[in-house]
Symmetry: C2
């Protein structure tokens, strides 16, 4: 999909591997209103620190992104490298350095090879074209097994508005305010406060609800650029219905990308939704769902297609939420395998095992203590997860 006023390019720069796309550039023809959310990990990669500082102005015109090196734990040298690469882009495009956002993903603790960026810059900028956004989505992959993109089209105040989003992520995934990397570009005309609010609301309900392995990355970020090229009336509080439509569209798109990340979780064979209902408070429902979604014993049982609900209730019991074990119902799909805290026997477990053979599984936990309900999205835990992560750097 083409988004008015945006162009993109990606090239193989040899940052880590040779012969594969690993350097991408997204540009807006004009300065775009830009909002971002970033990792809450105390250890932040150089590009995260730099982008957070630059985004105080709420504007950006380009995103330069590389895979193969996270530029995290690289000290002053790493920060200088991040700035140098943004300067290369600024010079080539004739824009201020501060209008360039940078993003990196890959191994922690290795210095960025700035020379590789320099050598690649001419062909990178030369390749800029509206139809190349998908190539950037390819360039940001690391252990990802498929390209993750989403597009949406809506009508805002009579104007067609388009969105294109991309994400990468497969391991070290339990985002806290953001996920590995996700970039969304839209030609919508929207102010910074509104865009920022829509992004934060959407991320809380989407990327911050997924977990692959409980590990939060040092490089997580989500950026949204809105360049206004669609020419719609400015979206603000005066037209709440348009703002709501924008919010809904963005959230729907981020959820799409977030679920793609879970579906491509390292070694994953299944997508699992853990839904906790009947909780006293939303925060408690989320805490319980997250504990179950991060339990290795629960996740390996899903890999084994074993309806082992004992592991679910054991994880619930250690999550810190007070509840009544003797009230709990647990269902796999439509099959209620536990009623009032008691297993329903072998015949029901066999029915439930059929549900577990599917690719998408919903586990519903009903506490019957209140009305709050929350979901966390995860994947199963396979032999391949261990193989991928024992061998990642070799």
């Amino acid at each position: 999909m083409i988004i008015k006023g945006f162009s993109a390019s990606a090239v193989p720069a040899g940052i880590k591997y040779s012969g594969r796309l690993d350097l991408g550039l997204i540009c807006s023809a004009t300065p775009a209103v830009t909002a971002g959310v970033f990792t809450k990990n105390l250890v932040k990669a150089a590009p995260v620190v730099l982008d957070m500082e630059r985004l105080r102005q709420g504007r950006a015109q380009a995103i330069l992104v590389n895979s193969g090196c996270a530029n995290a734990c690289t000290g002053e040298q790493g920060m200088e490298a991040a700035k140098s690469t943004s300067r290369l882009v600024a010079l080539a495009l004739g824009i201020p350095e501060e209008m360039v956002q940078v993003a990196s993903t890959g191994v922690i603790g290795v210095q960025l090879n700035v020379a590789a960026f320099e050598s690649a810059m001419d062909s990178l900028v030369g390749g800029l074209a509206p139809e190349n956004l998908g190539k950037v989505a390819e360039a940001i992959m690391t252990t990802d097994t498929f390209v993750k993109t989403a597009t949406r089209t809506i009508t805002l105040c009579g104007k067609e508005v388009n969105f294109m989003g991309m994400a990468k992520g497969s391991g070290m995934i339990m985002p806290n305010m953001a996920t590995m990397l996700a970039f969304i570009v839209t030609d919508a005309q929207i102010g910074f406060p509104e865009l920022n609010k829509c992004l934060k609301t959407s991320v809380a309900r989407t990327f911050n609800r997924i977990t692959v392995d409980g590990d939060t990355s040092t490089n997580d970020m989500v950026l949204v650029m809105a360049n206004g090229a669609a020419g719609n009336k400015w979206i603000d509080d005066e037209i709440p219905e348009a703002q709501q439509l924008f919010q809904d569209t963005l959230e729907d798109m981020l959820k799409d990308l977030a679920l793609q990340i879970v579906g491509d979780g390292e070694g994953a064979t299944k997508c699992i939704t853990i839904r906790v209902c009947g909780a006293k408070e939303a925060g408690e429902a989320e805490q319980m769902a997250r504990t179950v979604a991060n339990s290795n014993l629960v996740k390996t049982a899903f890999f084994g297609e074993d309806a082992n609900w004992g592991r679910i209730i054991a994880a619930m019991g250690r999550c810190g939420v007070r509840f009544h074990p003797e009230h709990v119902d647990i269902s796999f799909g439509d099959i209620t395998i536990v009623k009032n805290g008691i297993g329903q026997g072998a015949a029901v477990e066999e029915e439930a095992a059929k549900v577990l053979r599917e690719k998408n599984i919903t586990v519903k936990i009903d506490l019957k203590d209140g009305n709050a309900c929350e979901e966390i999205y995860t994947c199963d835990f396979s032999v391949d997860y261990v193989k991928i992560n024992a061998d990642y750097r070799t």
Copy 2:
């Protein structure tokens, strides 16, 4: 080792598997001062609930333990079953029912087969002998690959005092006040308040410092029986040096058993000590060490013998403790791989990789923010962990 006044027995009762020891009994000739610590999981198995109630009296004379069935999430029927089995023992031994402690380990959500206990009771009680404590250690194994026992002998106020301890546990191990199952018998003469205090102090520093997979069981318990048969002077606050020796011996023994559990962690190939030093507070040091010890990415890197310190620092960054990433040193054994937050390069990583090929590895993290230092003990995370837990019930 024989502990004066104690006898034990174990038989194959066919509770889950046939032809292997799965039912054990430990008896004291006289009522023994007995202290216990139990799982903090909100979901507690029937034997845990029953034992906690009975231990209010601080005395017990027998422990009946089975593997193959956890008797957890089994409702009223499960509680009745726990009581029935304790009654069988009480009748056979001619002691009050309340003097019998029961313990179960195995699959959650399956009712206890009381008939199997009934059929086995005669041969179980008939087999009681002082030299059979080791057979009980064998009977409590589930996915354990070796028997875990420890013995100690000390002189207390001129009398020889003996201890024998046993433990089981391999998965669902991140004890919170206790571990899966551990039983210690001693012929020491000690009052309940002193025994209880020694046990709680020791468990906090040993079993509560290990983690295999971050999952806390519904059945965790540690019981210590002291029957006084050694005839030493009563240990109390009037002889602090004797109480300290008792405490040190118990703690040393529990640490021995705890490390045996980590060394037999499901699929484990290595024992890893995560030591965080230079923290502002002990609680923060423990929290950071525990987060690193539970990171799947850290644990799979150890399995892969990859000196991937980036995963360690990423886990530190998400643990909730404030520190200065630019001050951090990280060592594997004697090799300092990170100084002041920066990796020391490929040559040092190669030296560190040699350390990782060993079976016992210590990771030292120095925050340089204070003087607190704490350790957590864990194991690596292998392909076999997933295989064991995907297939556990089949």
